[in-house]
Structures are given as C-alpha cells and as structure tokens.
C-alpha cells in the first residue's frame, strides 16, 4: 500500500504494509539508519522520533497511522540543533547507540519546556535507556542546551 508522509521536510511515499512500524520504514525502506532499534516494545526509547513535533517511539508507530503527518528524525535535527551542540560540547555519547533517541527526546522536551527542572528531565527522559551510563552528561547537556538561544 502506498503511504505518503513528510520526513525531515521532504514528502516521501513508501509502498509497505500499513502495520509496518515507522522505525523499519525509516531504517530499511528509506535507508535512514540514524534511528535505532533497541527493544521493539516502547521500553528503551532508542527509536524515538518526532511525529508532528511530539516525541514518539517509532517501533510502536504503524506507518499507516503516519500518513500525511510530519516526521523528524535525528538526520533532520540538522546537526546544529542546540541539543546536538550541547551533546558535542560535553562529549555525551559513549557507544552512542542510544543517543539519537536521547537527543530526539531531549529536543522534544526543550520544545515544550524551555527551562526543565531535574524532575522534569527525569520524567521526560526516563523512557530512554542508556546502558553505557551517560545519564549525568545527558542531564548536564539538556541544561546547557536550555541556556542556548
């Protein structure tokens, strides 16, 4: 089935079964591998993208439900997003695998909350697992990004 949607500002159409998770459409059909697979069950946040500006787990988002909507992935964050600048400034990633998801969550948090408290960060970010234990730096980077214009 042909499904059209917008990825990172570009209209795109794919021909896949409508129950295919957005995650696999991005990774396999469109070859955008920045969005990661970690659990497939909305438990780890590695696959986080923005759907119309909201953070969603793409492993639990059927492509059929994305028709006509706007998706932003790590590739679409632009490289110069304040979250990415802060992540680079603090050398946040270790293995790096969870980080696209972390940054997509963090950028969604900052879009809705300009100056998040520790509790806000905990509440918003606790859906994103990092096995390498970069949490202290993620927290610091979110605060640093919040200070950027």
């Amino acid at each position: 089935m042909k499904i059209s949607f917008n990825v990172n500002g570009k209209s795109t159409s794919v021909d896949v079964a409508p129950d295919t998770p957005l995650l696999w459409v991005l990774r396999d059909t469109l070859g955008m591998t920045g969005t990661k697979f970690g659990c497939g069950k909305a438990l780890c946040g590695a696959c986080t993208v923005h759907l119309n500006g909201q953070a969603v787990r793409s492993c639990q988002t059927a492509i059929g439900s994305v028709s006509g909507q706007k998706v932003t992935t790590i590739e679409g964050l632009g490289g110069n997003h304040k979250v990415q600048k802060a992540w680079i400034a603090l050398d946040v990633p270790q293995c790096g695998y969870c980080q696209p998801g972390q940054m997509m969550s963090a950028s969604a948090l900052l879009a809705s909350n300009k100056n998040p408290s520790d509790e806000d960060i905990d509440a918003f970010m606790s859906g994103n697992i990092c096995r390498c234990g970069t949490y202290p730096r993620i927290r610091a980077a979110i605060k640093q990004a919040a200070k950027m214009a």
């Binding site: 696999w24 969005t35 697979f37 659990c39 780890c44 970010m125 697992i129």
Partner: protein
C-alpha cells in the same frame, strides 16, 4: 590463545616497514612468528598502526573495538603524542584482523579485560615515535643535513635555513629508511596530547548526527534481511518445523534451518520478523530442558560441598580459626546477569563459493575468520572481517556466535544477509555473568582483626567453555579475580574455587569475576568491621597488606599488593565523601575498595532505604588511582558508566531460568537503571599519577555493588547477602 593472561609477553618487537600506496606504513610484530611472511604482507596490506600518504593524509589504525570506552580516541592519542600530529586532522580506521594487532595482554586481537590502553601504552607511542624518526631522517637526507638539525611538529619537518616539508612529502622516502632500533619516548612532563583535559572524542560528531555506522546499520547491495527463531531452552535444537504459513508471507525469499534455529529471509526486516512469528517449530529441549532456577541453585549448593581447588593459601587457616576470639560466617549468593547492550546482536554476512565478507560489531575479530571458515567450508584467509562501531559490548561481543549464524544463513540462501536479533533473542541467547555462591568465614582476634580467612566460591567457569587451555588444576583465572588479590594482611588464609556447570551459558561480563568475588569480600569485610565494632574505613586501612608477595592468578591485575595506593584512596574518599557526618533517618553510607586491572578504586555510596525497602542511591563518591590518564575526560566517562552498570546489576539484575530457558525477555522484565534512578550526585576524583596506566573499562562496575550493599546495611540494619538488593531480598535478610 596460549598467551592469554600471561602478563610478561616480550615487549621488544620486530619492526617492519613497507610502503603502502606510496607512503609509509609501520607495524610492530611480536618476535618469532612468521617474520618473513608478515614482512611481505606489510607491503601489500594496511597492517600498520600509522599510514602516511603522499597526499599527507595521516591515518591511525585502531585495532580495538569501539564500544563506548573511547579506544577510537585514546589509542590515536598515544600515536599522535610521539608522531607530532594534530589529532583533529588524522583519519581513524578500524583495523582488520592481523597478527600485528594482537593484544599482548590477552594473546588475541580481542577487546576486553580493560587492556586496550595498557597493552598499547608503549607499543603505540613507539609506533608514533618510530614513524616520526623515519620521516625526519628522510627529510634530513633530502636536505643533506644531519637529522639532529631537523625537528618534527604538527605534521611538518623543519630544517636549517627555514627548510620545511610536510610528512606526506617525505613519506615514500621514509619508507625506505631503516626502522630505528632505539626509540626514546617523551617523559611525561613533555606530554601535550596525553592527559589533555580538553581533548574531545573523535567519534562524537558522527554519533551526535546519527552517522556512526553500527553493525545493525550495515547496508550492502543486494542484501536481504533475516529474522531468526532459536530454541527457548539453552542448548535446545530444532526437532521439526512447519514453514508453510511463513513462506506464504509477502517479501519472504527463503526459510532456512541453520545450526541453532530457523531463519526467515525476506526483503525487509519487518517482513522477515512477521513471517518468523508464523513458524511452527517443535524443539528438542536438549540436556538443560528440565532446569529451573531452583534446581540450578540446588545444584550450585550441592557442588559447594566439594572442597574446590586452592588458589591461594598461607599459614594454617584451621589453626587460626581455632585461636580466634570470635568467628563470623556468611554466604553470598549472586545471580546470572545479562549483558543487554543497546544494540542487539547482528551481523551482515556475504558468503560465496570462494570468499566471505563479514561485517559485524565484534570484540573478537581475530576469531571470526576461523569460526566462519569452519562453518562455511572456507579457509580462514578467505574470510574478510570488517568491524563496525559497537552499540555496547560489555563482553557479550567477545562471543562470535551471531557471526557464525549469519554466515550459515547467507551461505544457505546464496546472498548477502543482514541477520538482526530481536531484543528477546538477545536477552534469551546471551552468555550470562555466572551465578556464584560464595561462602566466607573469618576468625577475629580480641582486637577484632581477622587472623584467619576462608573463602570458597562455587560458580560456572567461563574460560572452561571458551578458552579451556587457560584453566589449570580446576582454576579458571577469570573466576578468581577480585579475591586472588585479597588485599588485607591476614596471617592464615585459604581461598578455594569449585567449578560447576549449571547448564546456563556463562560469559565474560564487564568486570567478570570481580563482580562476584570482590562484591562478596567487600560486603563481608564490612560485616567483620561491624562485628569488631570498628569504623569500616579505618578497619580496612589498619589491615591493608603492605607487603609485596606476588599473586599467582591475577593475570590482569597489578599482580602484587597495592596497600599504599589503597590507603591513600581510602583516606581521600573518607575526606571527600563526608564520611561519618550525621545523615537523615533511613540514610546510610557504605564503603568498598578494590584493585583490578591495576586500578585502585575506593568508593563511598550514600543511599536511602524506604520503609518498604526501596533503595535510592543518593550520592557516590569515588577516588580512583588509574595511573596516567590518557584521555582524562573519558576516564571520567568510564567511571560514570561503570558505576551505572554496576548499580543496575546489584539493584535489579537477575536472570532466572524456567523450563531450561531464560525467563526475562526485554527491559520490562530485566530492569536497568534509567535517568531518574541514576545517583543524583556522582563525585569522582582521580589521583594524579604518572605511573603506567591501569584499566578503567571495568573495575568501577564491581566496586559500586558492595558500596551500595554496605550503605543499605548502614541505612537499614539489613545485611542483604542475596543479590539483587531488591525490596524482597532486603526484607528477607537478617
């Protein structure tokens, strides 16, 4: 793997140079091994640490796997320090398997044991220095001046009268220069790159932009995707299967049986996975099908009645116990744990009649040509291995099982295949940190000091499965770490290990047996301090072993007691943590100290324990003596990461078995630390030192666990000896 754990591999390498693409390539080879063949190879393959092209591109090869621990930057730092190049301008490439890249501390091209920097410390600085000296000689020859009149810096060589050339300009000529015999290295006072607090990671930008290529991101032309079904029972096999429904699904190209399961190969992963869910498989449960956690622990307990193999003994422990004023006994029970790196196991394999290409996130590239060759009928030299970035490793990727699987599947379908495991596949087909039962007893004299200590552990042996040649007389060196180097001065002691196969695949897991032995020991020492009525930090300081008797088994550790370093770390952590200050009701501090990988860590955890025995880690203070820090900010990152990893393990980590298989399938059942559970404050201090570097990728994982256990005792009065420190286990303890 005969060299495994032998610490004293000769450091004098045979040096070979050859011209690569018209430039200079330099490798260091261990003596006595196919020197001629290797030298010939060096002219045609990039078997080198440094490559300098005529176009002035400087490439540093990283022969260890980047799994977060920073080898991608810390190893080039070592080369760049002596090569005199700007690190931001060098290219970094992952090395293919080759003898030149063998890790002398492990005897294989293998990333593990917190050894990458320790092994590279001299080797890579020498590589950089030798290349620099050869480039300078080539320039001096060209200018007809003496090399001593020339100077290398920032990728340029300058000579008398304002002469100046780039490295690239003289690279071809440098390749013909004799490799220097004496390679003096800079004293630490002249380091510019090593120890630079401002140095950034070289892989951050790619990782922040989503561009870093992990194994799972591999795409090759004509590639198909495989999803797999493996036996739910550990060691189970396919008895029969019906694939009629799976085969009828869209996109499915083939359903193939391979050694340990059935694979569905399709045009996309999701098509493969949906069809895989429709397979009807009858499993042959194999020898472990009847196992469950209860029978496994019964087996471990029964085995623990055996005397075990003595790995350290002095004095007379029975006599010592007989004279003691007080006796303390305890048994610690630690569960199986999963690695669960964030990137599930995967491999892309393209197996053809005369060649195989394996693209994989592996910690052990050297083994892959051999096992893939064995599985496909190819010769090892026909198997080409490419190592990608690893989305975490933690020891899981020392195993090569998933590379073999992908190769078998690719061979069966005759096409390049990317096999991707689900999280469920990954968690139920891991190799697990072995469970262990550790029985300890001590006899204290009238002052409370131990005069006798007895330690007896019973646990599956990882090395007996993976590297049987290193197991000697019933002792697996990787089962006695963290206790073989027992750091206290106790006149009578006997330490024994009983190997026991529990029917659960044991694997090397970040910190390996330090996470068993040092956890039990440091909790037990706390029990002794309590029994003696002494302060746990001062108690430890007063009984540190200040001697110099070598430990027989601690292949990756300092090898001798490090009493003075421990004393200093304990004193500093006491001062920095606010030890002894009044804390709110339900809060407590616990201490632990350990040497592992030649790194000494003293740690104080501060926790609060609720009325329901829910534990919150409020603060962790660590003092670390890891010798020279190559990349200080990333040394800090490793401490942050290991504390997090150990916290997850000791607070929630537990793999249980039912009907022969692993019960936990995903992160809802195998809980790991999340942002809101990470300690609010992590206060980590490194002791300034210019000694040889210690390892940092693992030891913190072990030390945090007893620190938390001891803090729980201080906060609640509950001595929890069964891990994890869950509310049930704490509540059930004395």
């Amino acid at each position: 793997m005969e060299n495994m754990i032998k610490n004293e591999t000769r450091r004098d390498f045979l040096k070979v140079s050859g011209s690569v693409a018209g430039g200079l390539a330099l490798g260091f080879y261990m003596p006595g091994r196919h020197n001629v063949a290797v030298a010939a190879e060096a002219t045609s393959s990039p078997n080198a640490w440094v490559k300098i092209g005529q176009d002035n591109t400087i490439t540093i090869m990283v022969a260890r796997s980047e799994m977060g621990q920073d080898v991608y930057t810390s190893m080039p730092i070592l080369v760049a320090e002596e090569l005199e190049v700007d690190l931001s301008k060098v290219k970094v490439e992952f090395a293919p398997p080759a003898e030149v890249y063998i890790n002398a501390l492990l005897g294989g091209q293998l990333t593990g044991g917190s050894t990458s920097v320790r092994d590279a410390w001299e080797k890579l600085r020498k590589a950089g220095a030798s290349a620099r000296m050869m480039l300078v000689t080539a320039a001096a020859n060209e200018w007809n001046v003496d090399a001593s009149q020339c100077k290398a810096s920032n990728g340029m060589i300058t000579g008398p009268g304002g002469k100046k050339v780039t490295y690239g300009h003289v690279a071809a000529k440098a390749a013909a220069v004799e490799v220097p015999k004496d390679v003096p290295l800079k004293p630490s006072s002249q380091f510019k790159v090593i120890g630079n607090a401002k140095q950034k990671r070289l892989d951050t930008e790619a990782k922040v932009k989503g561009q870093a290529q992990f194994g799972i991101d591999t795409r090759v032309p004509g590639m198909l995707y495989a999803a797999v079904a493996m036996a739910p029972m550990i060691g189970g096999k396919v008895a029969s299967f019906d694939d009629s429904r799976a085969k009828a699904m869209p996109g499915v190209k083939a359903v193939v049986q391979y050694s340990r399961g059935v694979a569905v190969v399709a045009d996309s992963y999701w098509q493969a996975k949906k069809a895989k869910d429709l397979l009807q498989i009858q499993w042959d449960g194999g020898p472990n099908a009847g196992n469950d956690s209860k029978s496994i622990w019964d087996g471990i307990r029964t085995a623990s009645e055996q005397p075990g193999a003595v790995f350290r003994e002095h004095g007379n422990v029975e006599a010592g116990m007989g004279q003691a004023a007080k006796k303390v006994e305890a048994a610690y029970q630690l569960p199986f744990l999963s690695h669960s790196p964030m990137e599930p196991m995967n491999t892309t394999a393209d197996v053809r009649a005369d060649k195989a290409i394996i693209i994989t996130p592996t910690q052990f590239q050297q083994l892959i040509p051999h096992v893939v060759g064995g599985a496909t009928g190819l010769k090892p030299e026909q198997v080409e291995v490419h190592t990608t970035f690893l989305g975490g490793g933690f020891g899981r990727r020392v195993e090569v099982d998933y590379a073999i699987d992908a190769a078998e599947i690719s061979k069966a379908v005759g096409a390049p295949v990317k096999m991707v495991w689900s999280r469920e596949d990954d968690m139920t087909h891991d190799s697990y940190r072995p469970a262990s039962l550790m029985k300890l007893s001590a006899g204290l004299d009238a002052s409370g000091k131990p005069v006798a200590i007895r330690f007896h552990s019973t646990s599956p042996s990882i090395s007996a499965r993976l590297f049987p040649s290193i197991v000697k007389d019933g002792i697996d060196p990787f089962a006695v770490e963290g206790i073989d180097n027992y750091p206290y001065d106790t006149p009578n002691m006997k330490l024994t290990y009983q190997m026991h196969d529990a029917g659960v695949t044991p694997g090397y897991w970040r910190g390996v047996s330090h996470n068993l032995n040092a956890v039990a020991l440091e909790c037990f020492i706390d029990e002794l301090a309590n029994a003696a009525g002494k302060d746990p930090i001062q108690y430890r300081i007063d009984m540190l072993d200040m001697g110099s008797t070598k430990h027989q088994w601690s292949g990756l550790s300092a090898g001798v007691p490090v009493g003075a370093r421990m004393k200093r770390a304990l004193e500093e952590v006491r001062a920095k943590s606010g030890w002894g200050k009044k804390l709110p009701e339900g809060h407590g501090m616990g201490v632990a100290v350990m040497e592992g990988y030649n790194t000494v860590i003293a740690m104080v955890a501060q926790v609060s324990v609720s009325a329901d025995y829910d534990v919150t880690v409020e603060k962790v203070t660590a003092v670390v003596d890891a010798g020279t820090l190559i990349h200080p900010d990333q040394a800090l990152a490793q401490m942050q990461g290991t504390i997090n990893f150990g916290q997850s393990a000791c607070m929630w980590g537990e793999i249980t078995i039912k009907n022969g298989g692993v019960e936990q399938t995903n992160f809802d059942m195998y809980r790991v630390a999340r942002m809101n559970e990470a300690p609010k404050v992590l206060d980590i201090h490194f002791i300034k030192s210019d000694s040889t570097p210690g390892g940092l990728g693992e030891p913190g994982t072990a030390v945090i666990q007893p620190a938390i256990g001891n803090a729980i005792f201080a906060a609640s009065g509950k001595r929890c000896r069964t891990l994890p420190f869950s509310p049930e286990n704490i509540k059930g303890s004395a």
